[in-house]
């Protein structure tokens, strides 16, 4: 049961990752070369997924688009992870201290805003582009990771082995790094997988409204936006990038669920 979703999710995610990695070495067609006479072909033996309104090969666009999506999501989740986790761990060292309150209330503040709206605001203010999209999505990953790591760390601080470490004279910093972090890593991996799929959705959303990755770099969200007026006579233009987004997000979510079942001690115990 638990392994099913992990395996299916892992397979779907691996498919996307492989497509992205292969695109560095090889794509069926050069997508910087537009070929107007070949436009709007439905899937056929030359263009396996057809061509778009500029005659570009959609399979190639999807492959390079996977690269864009993954890169943006990895960097954005990375920002959230590498800033959020230390903040959460620091807050957990002294519960209800000024530091804790400052960090967590700031988190609440960021959390209170609808993330996509603020991401739109950031990219509108500082200019549309992949870099600003990464920063905008990254900022909203910080409180997520901070909360998860603080919550998990707080309960650990009560444990005997932490007390033992403390008695042996280790500083808060060392305890957090050597004992707390390894013990919450599995939770963070699960959270990271879910944030990753949200990051991909956010990138697609920003690109859809024109604030994410700029042309000519392909992006699934922009492919959807471009397809919008053509859905009625060339539905494959929307169905294909839409499916790519679904496959990726579904895969990551299934994988996240599967990983949680596998790694989360509470779930594991209740099952046993």
């Amino acid at each position: 049961m638990k392994s099913n979703s992990l395996i299916l999710g892992g397979l779907l995610s691996a498919l996307v990752v492989i497509a992205a990695l292969v695109s560095f070495l090889w794509v069926p067609f050069d997508i910087t070369q537009l070929s107007i006479p070949d436009k709007l072909q439905t899937p056929n033996e030359v263009h396996w997924l057809g061509t778009d309104h500029f005659g570009r090969d959609i399979l190639s666009m999807i492959m390079i688009g996977a690269r864009t999506s993954l890169a943006v999501a990895i960097l954005a989740v990375g920002i959230g992870f590498f800033i959020g986790v230390p903040l959460g761990l620091a807050a957990a060292t002294k519960k209800n201290s000024l530091l804790d309150e400052t960090i967590m209330r700031t988190n609440d503040l960021i959390f209170a805003f609808p993330s996509l709206v603020i991401a739109i605001l950031i990219t509108a203010l500082f200019g549309a582009g992949a870099m600003n999209a990464i920063i905008a999505i990254g900022i909203f990953n910080i409180p997520v990771f901070a909360r998860v790591s603080r919550g998990a760390a707080l309960s650990l601080w009560q444990k005997e082995f932490i007390l033992a470490a403390r008695v042996s004279g280790k500083s808060d910093l060392r305890i957090s790094a050597e004992h707390i972090f390894p013990n919450i890593a599995n939770l963070l991996i699960v959270q990271g997988t879910i944030q990753f799929s949200l990051g991909i959705l956010a990138e697609a959303g920003l690109s859809y409204v024109g604030l994410g990755t700029q042309p000519p770099v392909p992006s699934w969200g922009r492919m959807l936006a471009d397809a919008q007026t053509m859905v009625s006579f060339a539905p494959h233009l929307a169905i294909i990038p839409g499916s790519a987004i679904i496959v990726t997000v579904l895969g990551l979510n299934l994988m996240g669920d599967g990983l949680r079942d596998l790694l989360d001690p509470r779930v594991r115990r209740s099952r046993e």
């Binding site: 070369q33 500029f54 919008q228 007026t229 006579f233």
Partner: protein, 494 residues
């Protein structure tokens, strides 16, 4: 039993609804367009959307554009031109009233022209009035306009939306409550949604067939498609998604009008920004562009290739497309001659219309093929006006210049593409002072050649004007000789 009652009731309701619909359909119309006017004063802004709603419907000038682009009498019923060509005596129609009831007379004409040409005037086309030295009221219905020198296009100038006649009594509130002399009066403006007009019962001319007119603003092409398909709107002028037109053509509920516009769609080039200040580089760009690919790819075949800044349907048009034929090898050679064999990078800033966004991607790909990299940024109109049009902070941009006969903008060195050629400027000055049609024609042809030979901008195509309408609507303008949606002659077929 119960069920059949319900069906009868539903049928009766449908009958009433149907009857109501057909009754109102005979005299009401909903016209959609993409852009909403920023305000409602055609005499103080360049925004074409103002004229699209108000020209000829609410405001009228001394002369006016007919649907074929010719100039016909408007509020002036006739005019005399002095033998030296410098004094125009306009005889105004009598009994014309503004919508607020005040009469339209010679004083209003003097007020309007003096206001437009004043030092502090905010008129977007002040050049139209620059030759006027004096406007004198002879009597209630006669106005004498003196020019500093003969001006062959003066009557044409007076037909522009920027030269409509306004009244001093209502000028204060014109931006929100336009008061003109036209066949329709302004009723209501729900900002962000619609403008409503209703028939002017005291109109001096032929009464329009329509009673109530609603202009709706739908900027999103997908929403535009849906609104027309669902018949929420009766007419969509300047339909923004050419890819959807074949579907409307195939649907008997609709008619598609494909006409010409005055919209020269060009790859505007910042002539002061290195390396684009080098004519060889601009020539290289021109030869790198495959116009047909842009027309097919961005406009789905709607559009006519141009080789200069002039409307192809104009009798004086010279076909100069051969001057900048698609020849990427020549482009590379020219770039090498300009010392840029390694190519260069410039910006390509694109406003929202699909001709710009899609055309931009195609041009970027074509330029990349000869070694020119472009950094594309997609801008909203406000940003575009700020950065490109006013700030001149750009390398390349794509925009359609929809004003009629606007080759004169190349004589303005401070215009956003910053083309400064004294020979062209003196030619334009000379042209403005010439009334002889044959001489004007040869000058216009020469002007087209100069800007084509200087490769000021990349000349792409003449925008097609596509209107989708309910198949029963009659009398719409097919072409767009100026930005206007003249509804005075529009009616519903029975």
């Amino acid at each position: 039993m119960f069920q059949s009652k319900k069906i009868i009731a539903a049928g009766a309701f449908a009958l009433f609804a149907g009857a109501g619909l057909s009754l109102s359909a005979q005299s009401d119309i909903t016209v959609a367009m993409q852009l909403e006017p920023p305000h409602l004063d055609p005499t103080s802004a360049a925004a074409g959307a103002i004229d699209s709603v108000l020209y000829s419907n609410v405001f009228e000038g001394l002369t006016r554009f007919a649907s074929d682009g010719s100039i016909i009498a408007g509020l002036a019923e006739s005019w005399d031109i002095s033998s030296d060509g410098t004094v125009y005596t306009f005889k105004l129609r009598s009994g014309v009233n503004f919508h607020d009831g005040s009469s339209m007379d010679a004083n209003d004409v003097k007020f309007s022209l003096d206001r437009a040409r004043a030092e502090d005037s905010t008129n977007a086309q002040k050049a139209l009035f620059s030759g006027i030295t004096d406007v004198a009221v002879v009597d209630n219905t006669t106005v004498k306009v003196s020019l500093d020198k003969p001006n062959g296009s003066f009557l044409f100038n007076m037909a522009w939306g920027d030269a409509v006649i306004v009244a001093p009594e209502s000028i204060e509130g014109i931006k929100n409550n336009p008061v003109g002399t036209g066949a329709f009066t302004f009723k209501n403006w729900v900002q962000g949604d619609r403008i409503e007009l209703s028939r002017n019962p005291n109109y001096w001319g032929a009464k329009p067939a329509l009673e109530n007119v609603t202009f709706k603003f739908i900027s999103d092409p997908t929403a535009a498609f849906a609104a027309v398909m669902a018949q929420d709107v009766d007419v969509f002028t300047g339909f923004p998604a050419p890819e959807n037109l074949p579907q409307f053509e195939a649907d008997p509920r609709f008619q598609v009008l494909e006409g010409s516009t005055e919209g020269e769609t060009i790859l505007s080039t910042n002539n002061k920004m290195p390396p684009l200040d080098n004519v060889k580089v601009r020539k290289a760009i021109a030869h790198a562009i495959d116009r047909q690919a842009i027309i097919d790819g961005a406009m789905f075949g709607y559009g006519t290739p141009i080789g200069t800044h002039f409307a192809p349907h104009n009798p004086d048009y010279v076909d100069l497309t051969g001057n900048s034929n698609y020849d990427p090898e020549l482009s590379k050679k020219l770039l090498a001659e300009a010392g840029l064999s390694g190519g260069f990078t410039t910006t390509l800033k694109l406003p929202p219309p699909s001709y710009a966004r899609r055309g931009g991607e195609i041009i970027a790909s074509q330029l990349r093929a000869v070694g020119i990299e472009t950094e594309i940024s997609n801008l909203e109109w406000a940003q575009w006006l700020e950065q490109v049009f006013r700030g001149k902070d750009y390398g390349l941009t794509i925009v359609s210049h929809t004003e009629p006969m606007d080759i004169g903008i190349y004589a303005r060195p401070d215009y956003y593409f910053q083309y400064d050629n004294p020979e062209f400027q003196s030619l334009m000055t000379e042209l403005n002072g010439t009334t002889d049609p044959a001489k004007r024609s040869s000058m216009l042809k020469k002007a087209q050649r100069i800007i084509s030979d200087d490769y000021v901008n990349g000349y792409l195509f003449e925008l097609a004007f596509t209107t989708v309408a309910n198949a029963k609507v009659r009398g719409l303008w097919k072409n767009a000789p100026t930005q206007a949606t003249d509804l005075t002659g529009v009616s519903w077929a029975d």
